[in-house]
């Protein structure tokens, strides 16, 4: 499938939650799209609307020129005619059928057995789903979906049913499988690491609407607003106010502390987004450095997270820096230490 997928849907759920999403995906540029957002933001519901498992109150769903749903034209294709294969969180393999029978459920036998061979499942062909590991079940479910020659592949939190170790291992395999399949896919996840590992294109969904779409790295680097920044895992999203501007720089105040950022025409109240890894921690004021923003602060806590250390600072406002665990050890950072936080002007992102 090529062209653009458009899913513009409104739906009010019985719980009172209102979904009002306008999702557009350039299918040519995006083999794998990640639908990303916090739990309860309506991602799974939007996926079900696209598959035809639920009906929008109003809207259009049109993948690559075809029309699956259109209230104004009274078109509502059943899921059978959309052929958007759905991968459920717990894979929904038919428990009364063997792996081979599951894969051959909606495909000719010989095509199914060719797929089993190709994806390395031939050895499991006669096993029942309940005797498989989570990772194997996921693979079988994916191959079963591919065997039905879907127009689109929809995956709802495909890794959440796996244990942590398997999840990390499976992440990259899953992306390879999706790319190899040649079928355009939409993956729902609330995990930033998964989004980065799986997707080419990112659509951020918050409170029932699509807030930002674009290539994964671009969306994560330049979040459109404070909520997107927060859900994309930007460590510091701080309320700020523009107080002055000159020479292409804008001065913002966070409480009583002033910082310089690149002037992109923002005015008034806004949010300053600073990634933890863009903050350098120094023992002294680091005079003679080109970085314009130097903040005196105190270390409040140091937490090790694998290869990195999360350093919580108090600079008149709370600030979280992420440094390598090695640096934190070399500097012997302790709670209570006086340090200087150095932030380049270009690392400051101002959003509404």
């Amino acid at each position: 499938m090529a062209g653009e997928l458009i899913a513009r849907c409104r739906k009010r759920l019985a719980s009172g939650f209102e979904l009002d999403a306008d999702l557009r995906i350039p299918l040519d540029e995006a083999p794998v799209t990640v639908l990303f957002g916090p739990s309860g933001s309506g991602k799974s519901t939007l996926l079900r609307l696209i598959a035809g498992l639920e009906r929008p109150d109003e809207g259009t769903i049109s993948p690559g020129g075809a029309v699956w749903f259109d209230t104004s034209r009274h078109i509502d294709l059943p899921p059978q005619r959309r052929r958007a294969a759905f991968l459920f969180q717990d894979y929904a393999l038919f428990p009364h059928l063997t792996v081979a029978e599951n894969v051959a459920f909606a495909a000719p036998r010989d095509a199914a057995s060719a797929l089993l061979d190709r994806f390395g499942l031939a050895a499991l062909a006669s096993r029942l789903p309940r005797s498989l590991s989570g990772g194997q079940q996921q693979r079988v479910a994916l191959v079963r979906a591919l065997a039905s020659k879907p127009a689109l592949l929809l995956l709802d939190e495909p890794l959440s049913a796996l244990d942590a170790a398997t999840r990390t291992r499976t992440r990259h395999q899953l992306r390879e499988l999706l790319l190899e399949s040649g079928v355009r896919s939409i993956v729902v996840t609330h995990d930033r690491t998964e989004a980065i590992a799986l997707g080419d294109w990112l659509a951020v969904m918050i409170e029932g609407s699509i807030r930002q779409t674009g290539p994964v790295q671009e969306v994560l680097r330049c979040p459109a607003d404070a909520q997107v920044a927060e859900s994309a895992g930007v460590e510091n999203v701080l309320p700020a106010e523009v107080v002055a501007r000159q020479y292409g720089l804008v001065t913002i105040a966070i409480g009583v502390v002033c910082l310089d950022a690149v002037d992109r025409g923002e005015t008034g109240a806004l949010f300053a987004c600073i990634r933890g890894e863009d903050i350098t921690i120094a023992r002294n004021r680091a005079e003679g450095s080109s970085a314009r923003n130097r903040l005196d602060g105190r270390v409040r806590a140091v937490t090790l997270e694998g290869p990195v250390a999360r350093v919580e600072l108090d600079c008149g406002f709370p600030l979280v820096a992420v440094v390598t665990a090695q640096s934190a050890a070399d500097m012997q950072l302790q709670p209570g230490d006086s340090v200087c936080a150095v932030i380049k002007t270009t690392a400051l992102q101002l959003v509404r």
Binding site: Q80, F94, P95, H96, T98
Partner: protein, 224 residues
Amino acid sequence: MDWQAIALSLRLAVSTTAILLALGLPLAYWIVYSHRRWKFLVEAVVALPLVLPPTVLGFYILLAIGPRSPVGALYAKLTGGLLPFSFAGLLLASVLYSLPFTVQPMVAAFGAVDRRLIEASWCMGVSRAATFRRVIIPLARAGIATGAILSFAHTIGEFGVVLMVGGNIGGITRTVSISIYDQVQALNYTAAAHTSLLLLGFSFAVLAVVYALQRRVWAIWPVS
């Protein structure tokens, strides 16, 4: 023992169960998966025979199939016979009387099938009918078997409805329970005791099978 009555009861029970399976599967499917608001009315009607005295049910069926009713008139026109006090009339009454015994276990079993299995099948392009046949029925087979066995046993034991609709004609409508009643009326206690014991043993065996099915005493799925 009245072998003629036993044979008739078996014939009635087999026919009733066959008809109820054909009728109950789509009806139970509709009850479980329909989104109609008035669904509860159909559920209540299906369950009516559970609470209605058999004589009341029998009385209405008798009225409904009488020669002056549309159903009775149509039947007379097609076959030249009358429905009341005939095997066909008895069969119709039995089907209505045992309907909840077939439908309710099926409704419970269909409702227990994971909705996502059904949706996964639909999304792979498999029609609703084929999904019903290939996913829902195999996964609900314990419930379907329970429904069939219960309606079979219930038909064997029915008395009031049979008496109202079928009367007591040897070889045509005299079922085993009517035969026992006759034997008692005729003070033939030995014959009544034999037939009663047979029914008691049969009923116990049926219920044992039903509960075993529900507890999955036997492996429902083949173990690989």
